[in-house]
Symmetry: C2
Subunit: 335 residues, 2 copies
């Protein structure tokens, strides 16, 4: 058969901002599958901010990287999977993947919902926003909410869920185009372009009633700004701290932490596996909201696995609106 | 009658570390009391780290300061209080106080327990340690616990409660004398003198099994050290951040906050009024522990109201072991 496969290896650990040549495109052959295995042809892979720390500690050098992906079963010697099945998996950064079925999750797509939605609003990204806001942030209807990187894959969903819950929602973002989308399409109440207005000053002006819940994707100056505006018993759901990801030691200082004492605030870090019990309710709610047009989403899709390093670099520079994806093969290619 | 009263005013807001002449001793006359009022002769007043931020924002200039105190009712025109009653109150920094009874709490002292204990282990200090550790920190028996300023009024109680709960307890302190007391008297498992060993390095060595609960009185480098040693699902009960109190803006940077994401940690600021429902159980538990000799405590008592500014300055420089008190009058003086 001799099918060609291409995959992305980590060539060296980035010093600061990742560069395309920190990665290497490697061509291999797709192996035959053994009994119990399936061969997956990947359709889309996800590129996430959380991958950045793993470039420093986590991913192995000169090995194929890993990440969320959606593929179709191309061949199966596993009775649980049929050829043509759509499977969500963690075997991104490669065009073809072999699996014994563990960690694969079959997807039954719904008419009218594009496949990529299962990688974003209906995928781990949307679920992270949902649980982070409602469970970790303990959001109550009508509260004052601040979401950083609000035009990003997670932030844009968190901000719109807060709107659905009747909250006053402030978002921060780094470009005029994204700010316009957040205001005009996603329907946020206030948007701060932190490249035009210092975030602390912008947030003070945008939050006359303070902030009850801050959904943090940034850390550093954004977290300091939030801490300076938080109300008593405020909650910070810490999803990510991208501001530090490209600094030495992956950290930026935070100065206003002592505010949490008299404000009796709660800062809580989380990953989506902390609230897996919410997954069924999330699926129900989100499909409903999508049908009702209450959640808008954007995707930035680069074409072909050779673009994966650029997707990673671009993500770190805020070049995406919404979810950053790489298309790995045409769905039209016969399974 | 013309009783002389002396009180401490805030003369100017400290620039950094408070100095004695930031305060002023003012002599006044004790006023007559009206119907419904009581005159309190103060016996002891409390000097607490939490007063430092109030010197910057909170206390008014050229006015008498306020703080926890224990006094005896000297004269009463209030049917709820009799002459000779012991009353806990928030009218410290003066020798005599007039009150309409609001905010006074009558104290029935127990034989064998010195009056000062009601200002420390059995007072707000002990209660802060109790609730902060058990309720905010969610301490579970047998966990790994780190307490900063462990020889202080709150820290020393928190550390010993953790020992009573079967935990492995690490304390930090700033002198060899305090370290010896913590090790030999209070029975901690490990003690770090942060003036001899950098706190991060000291904690790494002292906590081979990591830290599940950090009771934070310091912030800054101590919090960073804790964050670098915390276990997954670790909790930080943030009682105070004394490291920043004497810096401009009352803040010190914290660098390792991003650790809370993958560690899914919880940082929670609190004040004792957050868990008033625990007060009866605290009184029962703490009296029991004192009778059993399970809680040791120390006090640093300065004599006379003129010493109150020195008590404040000394507290900020770690000159106290345990609770810092100022004795305001001799109990022997006839009521």
């Amino acid at each position: 058969m001799s099918l060609k496969n291409r995959e992305i290896h980590l060539a060296r650990r980035p010093d600061g901002l990742p560069k395309p040549d920190d990665f290497r495109l490697v061509e291999t052959e797709v192996p035959d599958i053994a009994d119990g295995q399936v061969l997956i042809r990947q359709l889309y892979m996800s590129v996430d901010p959380a991958m950045r720390p793993r470039l420093t500690v986590g991913y192995e050098l000169d090995q194929v990287m890993a990440g969320g992906a959606l593929g179709r079963v191309e061949r199966s010697k596993n009775p649980d999977f049929a050829e043509g099945d759509l499977v969500r998996n963690q075997l991104g950064f490669r065009e073809y993947a072999v699996s014994d079925g563990r960690g694969l999750s079959k997807l039954a797509p719904e008419p009218g919902i594009p496949l990529t939605a299962y990688m974003s609003v209906l995928g781990g990204t949307g679920f992270t926003a949902y649980g982070g806001l409602l469970e970790i942030g303990g959001l109550k209807d009508g509260e004052q909410v601040f979401v950083s990187t609000a035009a990003g894959a997670v932030g844009s969903v968190a901000a719109q869920i807060a709107k659905i819950k009747g909250c006053y929602v402030i978002g921060s973002t780094g470009s005029a185009e994204k700010a316009a989308w957040l205001r005009d399409e996603a329907g946020l109440d206030a948007v701060i372009n932190y490249k035009e207005t210092p975030i602390r000053q912008g947030l003070k002006a945008a939050a006359p009633k303070g902030v009850d819940v801050y959904f943090d994707n940034v850390g550093g100056d954004h977290l300091d700004a939030a801490l300076a505006s938080m109300n008593t018993l405020g909650r910070v759901a810490v999803c990510g701290m991208i501001s530090g990801y490209n600094n030495p030691g992956a950290r930026t200082p935070v100065y206003n932490l002592s505010n949490i004492i008299y404000g009796r605030m709660n800062l809580r870090g989380f990953v989506a596996t902390d609230f897996m019990h919410l997954r069924p309710q999330f699926e129900t709610d989100m499909r409903q909201w999508l049908r009702e047009g209450k959640i808008k989403w954007r995707e930035t899709v680069l074409d072909g696995i050779a673009e994966a390093p650029h997707a990673m670099v671009g993500l770190m520079q805020g070049e995406n609106i919404g979810k950053m994806l790489v298309k790995l093969s045409e769905e039209e290619v016969p399974a």
